[in-house]
Symmetry: C2
Subunit: 376 residues, 2 copies
DNA sequence: TACTCGCTGGAAAGCGCTTTCCAAATTTCC
DNA sequence: GGAAATTTGGAAAGCGCTTTCCAGCGAGTA
């Protein structure tokens, strides 16, 4: 019943390749009349050893002729490491993550690596679960976009998952400020961005400024607040559009009339909400109230008025993070020319690398001179 | 440095598992004192044969105790089929695809399947390339979101790639109308949506309506145009915001004053552009000009005025498409209750299944009664 | 010329899991 | 009660590739 052993036979015509497809390395080796080992060495220059000219070319040609494509699973199994990387985001729908993902995929593609993307829908358990799966399949690494939970219980287990993964050779790098993780990270200069936002408003004569903040537990938020400095009226929201609306409405109600001449929202989603709140409260933007956002998501320019906001080079950050993950060593400086700060503690097995990206304020129509500032 | 490892302390001490990680089936089998085969049969009820109570429990327990996680690569290799599916989109950044991706990932997760997401950046070559890779790694299937190229040369090769993939057992399903492919598809009722849009405008008294169309080669566009019917002034654009702006500007310039009282853009991105163009042309929306979009992307409600648009259940479509891909057979009716039309040609090896999703017009602030319609 | 190296190509042992084939253990039927 | 039919667990042969060892060989050294 089992006599498909015709392999060895150099069947002249009608050589039917098994329906189930793919050309294997073995076939290539046979075609090139070399051993399996040699074919492997030629086609996947990973074993440290090269094969010289003549033979190599024969193999290449054979592979070409047969249309050989290596089987990633077999490779992963034999090497105990696959060539996929995971990209874990909160929500694919959020333009913030979409921009990062685009950059990451771009970089991954350049390296012939496939990206497994997973959305956690903000469920930290899922984040841990995915990390486990990536580990189980020997993924090359994982990109963690978005701040992790700071819930002590969960963050401990997350840290365990990361540790387990890295101990087995996986690389984990974060995009955005992560509370405590001892992993590589690519972060925007939140503090400076916030500083620029405030400076911009103050230059326009604004003195009474309200802040629609994000979850106080997030390191990202802390950094932005730090950059903002003191003396502002802050209300905490949850980084969503609705949250931004409510917080802004509250702020405006608490400071009627000219009590507040400007609002800074710690992300664009909330800024959009704030804009709506201002409209509903009868404040004209920017005449009565200036509004500044954070992130510069694509839709920011389409809001009305177009939003003045702090631009984060999200796409580049995604690219860089992936490059960091894949190359292991740091490549050239990215386009934006961030300053790379390596904290190379001698004691640590692997030093943690952090790449800072500069940010820039984009001034659009939502900010203008403060009403009473003409006198300055 | 990090010692939140308290949980793991219940280990009897001593027994050091190999650093390189993963528990293998073999270990589980040993622990349960059964053969490898039995362990496999218990843990992965795929072989058609079950194992009865006592033994089965012993294996389960052992697996539990050891924290066994099966190695997807080994499994894929042995089964000649992996448990990942590919999701190929044009652009992760486009909210349209993001919504679809969210749905697809949700459904995939429910099935324990991982999603490899790839963005083609609108390069059909990349689409073909990815399909090849998915094939090479025995992916369970691929979801193609967005219309394929209609360039004959490329589309032929794409069709070949699809055929090659399906011949090896991969399932390919499309989301959105695809020109010619003989594959399963999940499509929105474009025609009806367009009809609703026009009916809405006509009910408001609009008679002179302009259309900002998308690339005429796309089947999706053809369907929408068909639903719109005749007697409209149409200008073709490229589905981008900028294209929409230009097309709308042109349309408005060609029909000054009340020459046109309404505009229908064939997607929301272009509608956003049209809104901007109207503003720049000094037309008030909706007083002087009503504008209708298509898709109902998240930002539609945030435009000003909020956009009246045809809502596509993108997320559900993504979910359904993934379900179709994974289950092979059709599950229950989706939430939205689309009418499933199976074309079960007796002669075909596999019949092509198409799931239609109904769409609905969402009326917001960008449409109002036509200026001169009061007389009706 | 004899002998040790440094290279290069091939044989073969896995990587972790699935699945076919077998044989032993039951069960069923006359 | 014995033979045939049916289960059920295990041994083992791969899946396609990597990589360690080994043997063969021309080159360098004494």
């Amino acid at each position: 019943m089992d006599e498909q052993r015709s392999r060895a036979a150099e069947v002249p015509a009608g050589r039917v390749r098994p329906v189930t497809g793919a050309v294997t390395l073995k076939q290539v080796a046979a075609e090139a009349e070399v051993s399996l080992a040699t074919a492997s060495r030629v086609l996947h220059r990973s074993g440290g050893r090269e094969v010289r000219g003549a033979l190599a070319e024969r193999v290449q040609a054979a592979a070409e002729r047969l249309g050989y494509v290596s089987n990633p699973h077999a490779q992963a199994l034999a090497r105990a490491r696959s060539s996929t990387v995971g990209l874990i985001v909160h929500d694919v729908t959020d333009p913030y993550f979409a921009a990062i993902a685009t950059g990451a995929m771009h970089a991954a593609h350049a390296d012939g690596v496939m990206v497994m993307m997973a959305a956690t829908f903000r469920d930290p358990e899922l984040e841990i679960d995915y990390l486990g799966r990536l580990r189980a399949q020997g993924a090359r690494g994982a990109l963690l976009a978005g701040s992790g939970s700071t819930d002590p219980a969960v963050s401990g287990r997350l840290a365990d998952a990361i540790t387990a993964f890295t101990r087995e050779g996986g690389r984990v790098t974060a995009i955005g400020a992560r509370p405590d993780a001892h992993i590589d990270a690519v972060v925007p200069d939140n503090t400076d961005g916030a500083r620029q936002a405030r400076a911009h408003l103050e230059a326009l004569g604004h003195r009474r400024i309200g802040v629609v903040s994000g979850p106080g537990t997030l390191l990202t938020v802390r950094q932005r607040l730090e950059g903002l400095g003191d003396g502002l009226r802050t209300v905490e929201a949850d980084f969503t559009r609705e949250g931004g609306y409510e917080a802004a409405a509250k702020l405006l109600a608490a400071h009627p009339d000219g009590g507040l001449t400007a609002l800074i929202a710690l992300n664009d989603l909330m800024a959009a909400g704030a804009l709506a709140a201002a409209r509903d409260a009868g404040r004209r933007v920017p005449e009565d109230l200036s509004v500044v956002g954070f992130d510069d998501l694509p839709f920011a320019a389409d809001l009305s008025p177009a939003l003045t906001t702090v631009r984060l080079p999200l796409r580049q950050m995604g690219e860089r993070a992936m490059a960091l993950l894949l190359t292991g060593s740091d490549g050239a400086s990215p386009a934006a020319g961030p300053s790379a700060a390596s904290a190379a503690e001698p004691g640590a097995a692997a030093s943690r690398r952090t790449v800072d990206f500069p940010v820039e304020l984009v001034v659009r129509a939502s900010t203008a001179e403060a009403a009473g500032a003409r006198t300055t």
